[in-house]
Subunit: 332 residues, 2 copies
Amino acid sequence: MPELRKDPVTSRWVIIATERGKRPSDFGAEPERKRTGFCPFCPGNENKTPPEVLAYRTGGGAPNGSGWHVRVVPNKFPALQIEGEGNRQGDGMYDKMNGIGAHEVVIETPEHGETLASMSERRVEDVLWAFRDRILDLKKDQRFRYILVFKNHGEAAGASLEHPHSQLIATPIIPKRVHEELEGAKEYYNYKERCVFCDIIRQEVNQGVRLISENEDFVALAPFAARFPFETWILPRAHDPFFEDAQKHEYVSLSKITRELLLRIEKVLTNPPYNLMIHNSPLRETDGRHYHWHIEVLPKLTRVAGFEWGSGFYINPTPPEDAAKFLRDAKV
Amino acid sequence: MPELRKDPVTSRWVIIATERGKRPSDFGAEPERKRTGFCPFCPGNENKTPPEVLAYRTGGGAPNGSGWHVRVVPNKFPALQIEGEGNRQGDGMYDKMNGIGAHEVVIETPEHGETLASMSERRVEDVLWAFRDRILDLKKDQRFRYILVFKNHGEAAGASLEHPHSQLIATPIIPKRVHEELEGAKEYYNYKERCVFCDIIRQEVNQGVRLISENEDFVALAPFAARFPFETWILPRAHDPFFEDAQKHEYVSLSKITRELLLRIEKVLTNPPYNLMIHNSPLRETDGRHYHWHIEVLPKLTRVAGFEWGSGFYINPTPPEDAAKFLRDAKV
């Protein structure tokens, strides 16, 4: 069972893998796929993953067989374990608990060589529906307080398998970064009686200099205080705390703007590695007025170094206005 | 002039390079030294750096000539600019200010091929004295509120030059990560009426499982809630908020334990890239009872990916108890 431990200074929780802990010689080893050429996510290899928890099969077909176009399976090497209770306890001055949670993989397409940018809008939309369906299902489990949906694209962004996939981790605590955003949004709301994200959208659409693209339901922009070069956010125009509560037409619009944004990034930056995260409200403990779900895309172009680790202060070598212009002007 | 911008949600400041902003084609280009083989930090090339602000020359010699064994120069491409005033202002809902600050490079040795681990203790001690002397000098400038001393070792840790060096950045605001640590330490103090770091040292010395080494003035340990595999901290036994106020005998002890810890890391992990940061109190606004300066060393063995960026929640594949044992048992 992995262990959750809390740093007594910053109250940041970490997940410590207590079983099969990595030894010094395990770092820097080649990932398995490079050695074997085998892909467990390709059709025909369904029995190489744990049994699926969800799949969309337009033409029908049996579970764990082929014919799917989106397939969700538990992670074979989960960061958190689904069975058990939290069992919070002390260890002298420290706090810890069992590493319970869910860790699932959303296999976005049967095609090994595709990307979210090259897939059809309809297929990208189905990936969004899969995120929604899994969030709604896991939300029923009262042990979980937060679900993070994220995607690592490319080895430098942390992807250990090439086949297009996203991940979903349900945690028994509210992560620090999420808590910070919630608190910040709440503070702004308490002062202004307006949602900070709604205000951002209003100013950005008005100024236009950091806007990348927009459609009827969403805007894509480079944030004013971007930490990384070409960092981009996608925000729904309508205030909504929960991704999973979006309207059907919003998933259609979101698939369009997401696919298009990733295509712009792929073009301008020559298919860079990136991380994509859905910033969502906690499952239950939230006041819907403060928070506004959105997506953040972080291309991995620079290295996070000592200054950033020591200060939490980022140095961004590309002004977001320049990044927005490059992305906006890309022919897609 | 670089610009400091504040994220309206999380209140995190970032440094935006507004001049010579990096374009898409600038990322992934080979660093200059690889192309030219030239090192501006080697003796004989003193005129290739801005004029020195400090140097130790045991045998004497003129400024900006050879004969030095530690040399501090302004960074030729500073993240923040030394001249000017903050000039805080709004931009609609956003906040920004001029990117003023200091950015200096501490060239740790004239020998291009050495490392802090291979240098003599006496030479490592001189590097610490240089940190102290520069902090004390920059502290006089009332525009600055924090100074971060850090080191990037190896290209994957963000070092753009190979020649052993550290950096020092003075900022006109207190960075978010520092603020978080200070607030956390304060909260603990208010509840317990004891310093959280003093308590950590007490429990770790007592339990021993995460202890790596110790001497009369310092302990080196793997923290209970380590974010990264083989993350290690060096803490002074005596409570002190300021690195620059340490006693002479403490710099001697610190040079010993630091050099030895880096040697252990080099041995166990085969000279890994790493970041080293001095976590220090803000220059003035601090209540000395809460905070306890220390050093953090983060070997770069894993990639920070979507889950970490989206949640601030780290997955550490090596229990700190295992990491401590490997490092403790290393023959140095």
